[in-house]
């Protein structure tokens, strides 16, 4: 990873957290759906990132969002879970594909169809985990599932949009 890449990554971290806290946390359609875009940071991490490192990064990412929202631990646990299922996601989504080293996940490099499947799997896992931890019980299971599904579609739309707008440079 070059210095420029590192700078872009740090900038992306800060911008995604701020956008999440100050813009997307305020969009919630009467409390039934809450789009979350910060998972995009974990989604876009290069494939060869050390797995343990990615868990720590996810922890910091979730904690940053939590500090602003006042829900210490909630986004953190969901974000760590997201980093945990990420290796599973790319082994399921493209079992017969071999990645060249240096290829980053993204629409430009691997095509829209691949990207949508890959991020849909991750975003859904993240949202499901998040809303169950938020409810902290299985009593209101239908309500939780509806919230998960609606937020999922909203988040996916925004994540794909953001990825298209801020296309990474083709190498």
């Amino acid at each position: 990873m070059t210095g420029k890449d590192l700078l872009i990554t740090i900038l992306r971290f800060v911008l995604l957290v701020l956008a999440q806290v100050f813009i997307f946390n305020k969009i919630n359609f009467g409390g039934i759906a809450n789009p979350m875009i910060y998972p995009l940071f974990i989604i876009l991490l290069p494939f060869e990132t050390n797995k343990n490192l990615s868990l720590f990064i996810a922890f910091m990412l979730g904690l940053s969002v939590d500090l602003f929202t006042g829900s210490i631990g909630l986004h953190t646990s969901a974000s760590v879970f997201l980093a945990f299922v990420r290796p599973l996601a790319y082994s399921i989504v493209s079992s017969n594909k071999v990645y060249e080293s240096g290829v980053k996940p993204g629409i430009n490099n691997l095509g829209i169809r691949w990207f949508v499947t890959y991020s849909a799997f991750l975003v859904f896992s993240h949202h499901l985990f998040f809303f169950f931890v938020e409810a902290f019980s299985f009593d209101e299971i239908w309500h939780t599932l509806v919230k998960t599904t609606l937020s999922f579609f909203l988040s996916m739309f925004l994540i794909i949009l953001l990825d298209v707008i801020f296309k990474p440079q083709k190498k």
Binding site: F22, N25, N28, G30, G31, N34, K51, N52, L55, F56, A58, F59, G62, L67, F68, T69, G70, S71, I72, G73, L74, T76, S77, V80, F81, A83, F84, P87, V133, E134, A135, F136, E140, H143
Partner: protein
């Protein structure tokens, strides 16, 4: 020993994952308890200052609407003043009021951050212990009750919103004076639940709910909401009532913190009663 180290290295991904999740859940659980709210940490330092500057911008944008609201409220208060004077003069039984013993004072405050989409919601206000705020003071807006102060630091305080799993407010139906308790079931931020209204009570959809005044936190007759739907299941002795909150918790901006001047005396007399 060597095998153990090899084992730990081989499965380090899972162990690191479990470790971080355990930390996250410890944080979550220890910060979600009723009295020790995590919100004090969120109302400190950098994050609170940034929240404040963003909320300043939002305030400026909403200035016109807010002005209209304030004007309407001024008019309302003025009319109430005249009315309450007449009422005090014309009544003998309410000698506390006619002796001009003041029960409550109100402190105006501004919302810095507010949420309504979570199961348990908190609000941060820009007044703290420097302004005389203490825990367990009630908070209301022009349109209805908002919550109860649960932690205070120098310049900020955090409120447990009515939209919280642990909120329970004594309410009275104005048409028949029956009292019950309001809860928030968590599905819709505009809809609450009223329990403990006995099956022989008579009321109808649209009846107003106000605070009962049974607690020392809220004065009586503060609006809560309206009856939205009700049902009496066969064999039950209490109604299941849905209420619609009169305040829109999405649009709160200015609120009033209630200071009960005689709270200490009230507490004393309750302790005497409990001892006896």
């Amino acid at each position: 020993m060597r095998n153990l180290i090899n084992f730990l290295i081989k499965y380090s991904f899972i162990f690191v994952f479990l470790l971080l999740e355990i930390i996250a859940f410890i944080l979550l659980v220890s910060n979600n308890s009723y009295q020790r709210s995590a919100y004090v940490s969120a109302s400190n330092g950098v994050t609170a200052n940034m929240q404040e500057s963003v909320s300043n911008i939002a305030n400026y944008i909403g200035l016109e609407e807010e002005n209209q609201k304030l004007a309407a409220e001024n008019a309302f208060l003025r009319s109430q003043l005249l009315e309450s004077n007449l009422w005090a003069e014309g009544s003998l039984s309410t000698h506390i009021d006619s002796n001009k013993t003041q029960f409550y004072t109100y402190i105006q405050a501004q919302i810095i951050s507010n949420s309504f989409q979570n199961r348990n919601n908190y609000i941060i206000l820009d007044k703290g212990s420097d302004d005389g705020i203490e825990v367990e003071m009630g908070v209301i807006s022009t349109n209805g009750i908002v919550g109860i102060v649960n932690s205070v630091n120098k310049n900020f305080c955090s409120i447990i919103s009515i939209l919280h799993a642990k909120s329970a407010i004594d309410a009275k139906i104005t048409s028949n004076k029956y009292t019950g308790t309001c809860y928030w079931p968590g599905e819709n931020y505009q809809i609450g639940q009223l329990k403990n209204i006995p099956s022989h009570a008579v009321f109808s959809v649209g009846d107003t709910l106000v605070t009962s005044g049974n607690s020392s936190v809220f004065p009586p007759e503060i609006p809560i909401g309206f009856i939205h739907e009700f049902e009496l299941k066969p064999g039950r002795s209490f109604y299941e009532i849905q209420l619609k909150y009169s305040a829109d918790y999405n649009k709160l901006n200015h609120v009033y913190i209630i200071h009960n001047l005689l709270k200490e005396q009230l507490k004393e007399i309750k302790e005497v009663r409990d001892d006896g």
